[in-house]
């Protein structure tokens, strides 16, 4: 139906890799026939409403559910003690913490204390959503309020109110130290210092979270869950409910965006699933958008105090400082990895920096728990470093593009081991930057800017900002699968009629894997694209995998598919003469092979983004005139999908840069409780995006692909902020923290502004 659809000879074979095939998943979605969790309705279905703490920090002195239990239409009301009786355990906290860390259990329903405004306290189950909500009003909880603390620095202070009794709020401290940072700083010609905040923001997947659960046939617990990790969800549910994982069936169905927030298992979802088991009836719950701002994990929330040592010739020699990261009231499973595995280790970005001495501190505060959010530590690392680089350029009086180029890891120096111990397998940062500068018309822009500054100093301020980054992708958690094999699995089946089914343990929620993986398998097997079906997202039909997050699926899922396809091709050779795969499959009565990805080394995609922004000094208003993206994610399976990922990431990055913030007052009450006061970008917030690419194939996986699902948030955040601050620099503004709202900018431009 479009020239983008492969036809004729282009619908098979190697040529399919790199083809802009339009998506096969779209037809149901554009005709209103998707299958999202909220679309599930079953006979006898009950509806749940979560009673949440209205205060940020308090002891619970009493809960009376009598009136609520007796309200019309109410089937049951659950509090913590009821779940205890049902054998429903707490959520386990985080994995992969440094030794000696604190890792409090995360109760499904609050017991003695509530630690954030929004923490689940009780669950009301009733005939309709409205009767459940009405009855929830009747649950009477008495709170003895305690002082609250919300920011990472404040929570780490020695006199801060303590969340988890028995110690302070600092859950862990980890030092990254290598090279000779002391010598580098002692001999530095310049030291650039800055405190920088990556503010708390909300993922806002357009489909809110929810769950539907019911007792199925043969004692199987059926769970419809909008999740990025169906197998992970099943396994954590099994542990929390005390069930065998085999007794639980998790089906993600269509998932309306995740951005990391649909990775963890949440207490409210566990409570609903436990209620469905206890009542022996289907129960559904969907959060409202306002509830989502309290209940769904937020992202970021770090304060960095960092210094960059620069030698006399402009070479970066060392980084040092401290990053305080708040994780909110409790750890969710993989939240600390954002700081420990991403933010800290990625601070060197694409620069050949020899030494580091950085302390990473994770703290608890009376706020919604933090989870991974698009980039999960990557955008923050890129942002902190790219701000320091721009400040260094300004202090040295040199062009920021030049300063970057001088310090990049050279394309001849790959693989490059960073001072934090990561191995970047390939890349060409100079060429990426040059392409960006060319597409931007950088020299011309700088000339225009100089002219404007000279001739019209009071008028609109023009800024040009760069954001260069390295994006790790393809992580495979260190936990082996149920059969002991490492990584995600893929099963490829060729039936005797030649139809191919690829089932895989990664789990897309908007990324287009049905299309991309069908292209991949059709290319590898040399069969027709239309003959390939791709299956994922359902623990009954997909093999084990870690799901989709952290830009991992093309690398891990792709590698597993590649290996399974190789096995199929080897098995097809059992026929006596060379013949097309379909014929061999017919002769052999069908073929099937399963393979695991193993743990392919992570890939390191890179990019160079540029932004042209203007600021109206009279109002502080920013207009983003241009956004230019250059991405290098190695071999591209489907450029349409890759560009789509870039577009979405850029919008989210721009949102963090300019408008988005989850703020709290001093008592821990959230100030942004709905889409009326939390400002996600609209269509008119963005200029047309200009996307370009280059390709240095990954050397560490058989496909040459690099994870790239988060690049837009890395590049856009840096480029937009750097552009705005470049515009403000002649007016004496050195740094402002995001979001760069008109009010903040206007205030900074006033004679006595800060």
């Amino acid at each position: 139906m479009s020239e983008r659809h492969p036809s004729g000879q282009r619908s098979r074979g190697r040529g399919l890799i790199g083809e802009a095939v339009i998506r096969r998943e779209d037809l149901p979605l554009i005709t209103g026939r998707g299958r999202f969790t909220d679309d599930v309705t079953l006979p006898g279905m009950l509806h749940a409403h979560v009673v949440r703490s209205p205060v940020a920090h308090a002891r619970i002195t009493g809960i009376d559910v009598t009136a609520a239990s007796q309200a019309p239409g109410v089937a049951a009301v659950f509090v913590a003690a009821d779940l205890d009786r049902l054998g429903v355990g707490p959520l386990p906290g985080a994995d992969n913490l440094p030794p000696g860390s604190r890792n409090p259990e995360f109760p499904v329903l609050a017991t003695e204390k509530v630690l954030w405004a929004g923490q689940p306290v009780a669950l009301v189950v009733a005939e309709t959503p409205a009767t459940a909500a009405d009855a929830a009003e009747l649950v009477d909880v008495s709170y003895d309020e305690l002082p609250a603390v919300t920011g990472p620095l404040e929570a780490a202070a020695p006199d801060a109110p303590v969340l988890h009794d028995g110690a302070d709020n600092v859950a862990f401290v980890k030092h990254l130290r290598s090279g000779d940072p002391d010598a580098a700083f002692a001999s530095a010609a310049h030291v650039v210092r800055q405190r920088m905040v990556s503010q708390r923001i909300a993922p806002v997947a357009l489909e809110p979270r929810g769950v539907a659960a019911w007792p199925g046939d043969d004692g199987i617990l059926e769970v419809r869950l909008p999740t990025q990790r169906p197998h992970g969800a099943r396994n954590s549910l099994a542990a929390i409910l005390g069930l065998d994982a085999e007794r639980i069936h998790v089906d993600a169905g269509d998932v309306g965006g995740g951005f990391g927030a649909k990775g963890p298992m949440y207490p409210d979802q566990v409570a609903v699933i436990a209620a469905a088991r206890a009542l022996g009836r289907p129960v559904k719950w969907m959060e409202t958008r306002s509830e989502s701002f309290l209940a769904t994990t937020h992202g970021r929330d770090q304060v960095a105090d960092l210094e960059l040592a620069v030698a006399g010739d402009g070479t970066f020699t060392a980084l040092r400082g401290t990053v305080h990261a708040s994780f909110g009231a409790y750890f969710t499973s993989n939240a600390p990895s954002s700081l420990l595995g991403r933010l800290g280790p990625m601070l060197p970005q694409g620069y050949a920096i020899g030494s580091i001495d950085v302390t990473l501190a994770g703290v608890f505060a009376n706020t919604t728990p933090i989870g991974p959010y698009r980039g999960a530590g990557r955008p923050e690392a890129a942002y902190f470093t790219e701000r320091l680089v721009d400040l260094a350029a300004a202090e040295l009086g040199q062009d920021p593009a030049l300063v970057r180029r001088r310090n990049f890891v050279r394309n001849t120096d790959f693989p490059h081991v960073t001072c934090t111990g990561l191995t970047y397998e390939s890349g060409d940062y100079q060429v990426g930057l040059d392409l960006l500068l060319d597409k931007l018309g950088y020299a011309g822009l700088r000339a225009e800017q100089a002219r404007a500054r000279e001739e019209l100093p009071g008028e609109t301020l023009l800024g040009v900002g760069l954001g260069c980054f390295v994006e790790p992708g393809g992580i495979t958690p260190g936990v082996p699968g149920p059969d002991g094999s490492a990584g995600d699995q893929a099963t490829v089946t060729v039936d005797p009629s030649g139809k191919v089914t690829v089932s895989v343990g990664t789990s897309a929620h908007g990324q287009g894997h049905q299309t991309a993986f069908a292209q991949l398998a059709a290319a590898l097997l040399d069969v027709d694209y239309e003959d390939v079906t791709v299956v994922f997202g359902d623990t009954a039909t997909a093999p084990f995998g870690y799901g989709t997050f952290g830009s991992r699926s093309a690398v891990a899922g792709g590698t597993a598919i590649h290996r399974a396809c190789e096995r199929i091709l080897a098995a097809a050779k059992r026929v006596d003469a060379p013949m097309p795969l379909a014929e061999a499959a017919a002769r052999l009565g069908g073929l099937s092979a399963t393979a695991a990805s193993g743990a392919p080394p992570e890939t390191y995609a890179s990019g160079a983004y540029g932004c042209v922004a203007s600021v109206d000094p009279a109002t502080g208003r920013v207009t983003v005139e241009r956004l230019v993206a250059v991405d290098d994610c190695g071999v591209v399976i489907n450029p349409l999908l890759v560009e789509g990922q870039v577009h979405g990431g850029v919008a989210q990055g721009l949102g963090q840069a300019l408008t988005e913030q989850v703020a709290y007052d001093s008592s821990g009450q959230p100030l942004a409780g709905s889409l009326m006061d939390y400002a996600v970008p609209f269509a008119a917030s963005l200029p047309p995006l200009e996307c370009h690419s280059l390709s240095t194939p990954a050397t560490t996986n058989p496909l040459g692909v690099k994870g790239m699902g988060e690049s837009g948030t890395l590049g856009a955040t840096c480029a937009v902020v750097n552009a705005v601050l470049d515009a403000l620099r002649p007016r004496g503004v050195r740094h402002l923290d995001m979001p760069l709202t008109p009010e903040k900018i206007w205030t900074a431009l006033q004679p006595h502004g800060s």
Binding site: I22, L641, A651
Partner: protein, 166 residues
């Protein structure tokens, strides 16, 4: 006080022509049109993305004009005609706006998509040949968190061309 005695819980009869078919149901007076469509009629293509009339995921047409069905009571639709995403086209015959969203990769997760398509349909009815800026401004009532809007704008433009050629 149990809330179930108030007027909002009293049932009212609602007759609405939905996608050309007359439908008659009794629902609690407080039922929103979006819930009427989704729960009473099983038309789950219309989505709920917020509770403050910001996101537009619930956009449908009432008497040919786009409305946010989370902001209309089912009772207010009594006697009116409603068209949902299911009513404008299906696999056998897609509406040009649906075709354009597909061809231009105007969706990722697809959650905003039914509302976006209904909103673009309205936008093109008001302005058959909009420029990019007009499209962007015209979509101020619809949020997409996945696409950065780039390909939604492209889809709107492509649909405008298709509609003008047809």
């Amino acid at each position: 006080m149990p809330a179930s005695t108030g007027p909002a819980e009293r049932d009212v009869a609602v007759t609405v022509t939905v996608n050309g078919e007359p439908r008659r149901e009794r629902v609690p007076a407080r039922t929103l049109l979006v819930h009427f469509l989704r729960e009473q009629l099983g038309l789950t293509g219309t989505h709920v993305g917020c509770d403050t009339t910001q996101c537009g995921a619930c956009t449908v047409a009432m008497d040919g004009v786009a409305v946010k069905s989370c902001t209309v009571l089912a009772a207010q639709a009594d006697g009116h005609e409603v068209t949902t995403i299911e009513g404008i086209g299906d696999a056998e015959g897609l509406h040009p706006v649906q075709r354009a969203f597909w061809a231009e990769h105007g969706l990722q997760c697809g959650y905003c998509t039914p509302g976006m398509i209904m909103a673009v349909r309205q936008l093109l009815a008001d302005n058959p040949d909009p420029g990019d800026d007009e499209i962007r401004r015209g979509l101020a009532g619809n949020i997409c968190r996945c696409t950065g809007y780039q390909n939604i704008v492209a889809a709107a433009r492509a649909a405008a061309t298709m509609l003008q050629e047809s």
